[in-house]
């Protein structure tokens, strides 16, 4: 499915998902702030910053180990919140990034966060550090930094791979309180085993809506829920059709099966024509 014309049905379906999200964003911007359920991992963020403030030790933030993409931008959104809270209490921060483009934008974001809290004098350019763009060199350096500075709280949010457990266990060994979340489902179990609070799956994307209560993000979150509901509906519908027709593979494919693969649109048109 490299192009929309490979299967227009899928393109329209995606359009519908986008529309659902957009409608809710607009609704929310007009002032109907929706309900969001409690997400324990996100509540822990302020607690962790508070702990670091009490101990007078720095907090560490890592926005994943990939470059500038949707995931790391979302992580930076959360870190803006963290930095502003830390700035209020004058808690020192450390941010380690492993991509130069991400480093550039992180500098900007952190500086802005201090500015927004009215404490630009607290901003230290060396608090945001580019360490290495190589996975394990970065991990080695972060592990050293955690131990040397005895960080009190850590936030690992973004895309993580094998090195996730190195960060989490080393931070655990210095007694840091840890909040971690990753979109890489295969790394989530390691965070669950080693961290105090874990943000699972798309709770990660819910974070900015949850923390800032900002209308666009909140509306979008509700829209995502509706989109998810639509997906669930189709999965259930497909399974019902399979069950009714007793389909277990074979050449007599139900239409709904074809709809979601290349050539689905042609199959749909064909069967509509067949109907009349």
């Amino acid at each position: 499915m490299q192009h929309a014309c490979d299967n227009w049905f899928v393109a329209f379906f995606e359009g519908a998902l986008v529309l659902l999200i957009m409608v809710r964003i607009v609704k929310s911007m007009r002032g109907s702030i929706p309900f969001i359920r409690r997400i324990p991992g996100l509540n822990a963020i302020d607690e962790a910053i508070g702990r670091a403030t009490e101990m007078g030790k720095p907090i560490l933030m890592i926005p994943g180990i990939l470059g500038l993409d949707i995931v790391s931008l979302q992580a930076l959104n959360v870190f803006t919140h963290v930095t502003r809270t830390a700035a209020r209490f004058a808690t020192p921060i450390r941010m380690c990034v492993c991509d130069a483009t991400l480093y550039t934008i992180s500098q900007e974001v952190i500086q802005d966060a201090y500015q927004a809290e009215g404490k630009p004098e607290l901003y230290d350019p060396d608090s945001v550090r580019f360490l290495s763009d190589q996975q394990f060199a970065f991990a080695a350096s972060v592990a050293g930094l955690i131990q040397r500075e005895q960080v009190a709280a850590t936030f690992f949010l973004g895309s993580f791979f094998a090195e996730s457990l190195i960060f989490a266990e080393v931070a655990n060994s210095v007694g840091a309180i840890q909040v971690a979340g990753t979109v890489m489902t295969t790394q989530t179990p390691f965070f669950i085993a080693a961290c105090d609070y874990v943000i699972i799956g798309d709770e990660f994307y819910a974070a900015s809506a949850y923390l800032s209560k900002e209308p666009v993000a909140t509306g979008s979150l509700v829209g995502q829920d509706y989109a998810k509901l639509l997906l669930t509906f189709f999965i259930v519908l497909g399974s019902i059709i399979y069950t009714v027709t007793g389909y277990a593979g074979g050449p007599q494919v139900p239409l709904i099966h074809e709809l979601f693969a290349d050539g689905g649109w042609t199959a749909l048109l064909h069967s509509i024509r067949h109907l009349f």
């Binding site: 995931v71 931008l73 360490l131 669950i192 993000a217």
Partner: protein, 271 residues
């Protein structure tokens, strides 16, 4: 891309001068830009660059012969490998200098001011420099002595690669201590986490030996431990992760949409 070429070899320097001149004019203008116009400018740029990929996906295609294979393309498809990907990669590579500069600055200051641990910083600077010198020297096409290759070989294969492998293998230690601490039957959740981890682990290792005498046909095969572990992986783990991934995918879609349309409040646009 033939029309991109210019005839005379020397005029490339002229072009470079021209580009730099335009750059300084543009940047000069940008510094005068009113603060209120910054965000619209940034949103516009995001929209345009995002629009490229969106159009490439949504516009209809026709079949084109490429490497002896018929592939569907529209007029934008060809630009991805030829222009957009190199552009993004070149830009990231040029920006690597920024990160390097910040790293070097911190450690250079450490050495100059003789802060504690300045010896380490010095070691860092020296190793960066030597990796660069020998890396470029041994890759250079011109004739170079054999020992240059050897030194690079020691730096890269002897030290760097082995450190990579050593760091990677540290994870095993951490798995042991994490599972010792976390896999306590404290809560129901912790118990099921532990049980399924143990079953899968056993199925992959000597668990197969324990139930080796159980026949691997018919209903008997249900009592083999590797059947259990692959059952958990296929019937529980895979749909569970898939459901999480659906949410993550939708979250990414929504976030991408918000960034593309410039309605995202947050990191990128500076508010």
């Amino acid at each position: 891309m033939h029309n991109w070429e210019i005839a005379q070899g020397n005029s490339i320097w002229l072009a470079l001068a021209g580009v730099l001149l335009v750059t300084f004019i543009v940047i000069g203008l940008l510094t005068k830009l009113p603060v209120t116009l910054r965000r619209p400018l940034l949103s516009f740029l995001v929209f345009v660059s995002g629009l490229f990929y969106a159009l490439e996906y949504f516009l209809p295609t026709h079949m084109v012969l490429d490497h002896g294979v018929q592939v569907p393309e529209n007029f934008l498809t060809d630009l991805i490998p030829n222009i957009i990907n190199p552009l993004a990669q070149d830009l990231s590579a040029l920006l690597f200098g920024l990160g390097l500069f910040s790293l070097m600055r911190i450690h250079f200051n450490n050495v100059v001011r003789q802060r504690s641990g300045w010896v380490n910083s010095l070691a860092l600077l020296i190793s960066t420099l030597s990796m660069m010198v020998f890396g470029f020297w041994s890759r250079a096409n011109l004739h170079h002595p054999r020992w240059v290759d050897q030194v690079y070989h020691h730096l890269f294969d002897g030290v760097y690669q082995n450190m990579d492998a050593a760091m990677f293998s540290l994870i095993a230690f951490f798995i042991l201590s994490a599972s010792y601490r976390a896999f306590r039957i404290r809560s129901f959740e912790a118990s099921i986490l532990m049980t399924s981890a143990l079953i899968v682990l056993l199925g992959l290792s000597f668990g197969g030996v324990i139930t080796d005498k159980v026949p691997d046909y018919g209903l008997w095969s249900n009592f083999r431990i590797e059947t259990w572990s692959s059952w958990i992986l296929n019937i529980i783990s895979s749909p569970g992760l898939r459901a999480i991934d659906f949410g993550v995918g939708l979250g990414g879609l929504a976030m991408g949409l918000r960034i593309w349309l410039g309605i995202e409040k947050g990191a990128l646009f500076g508010d």
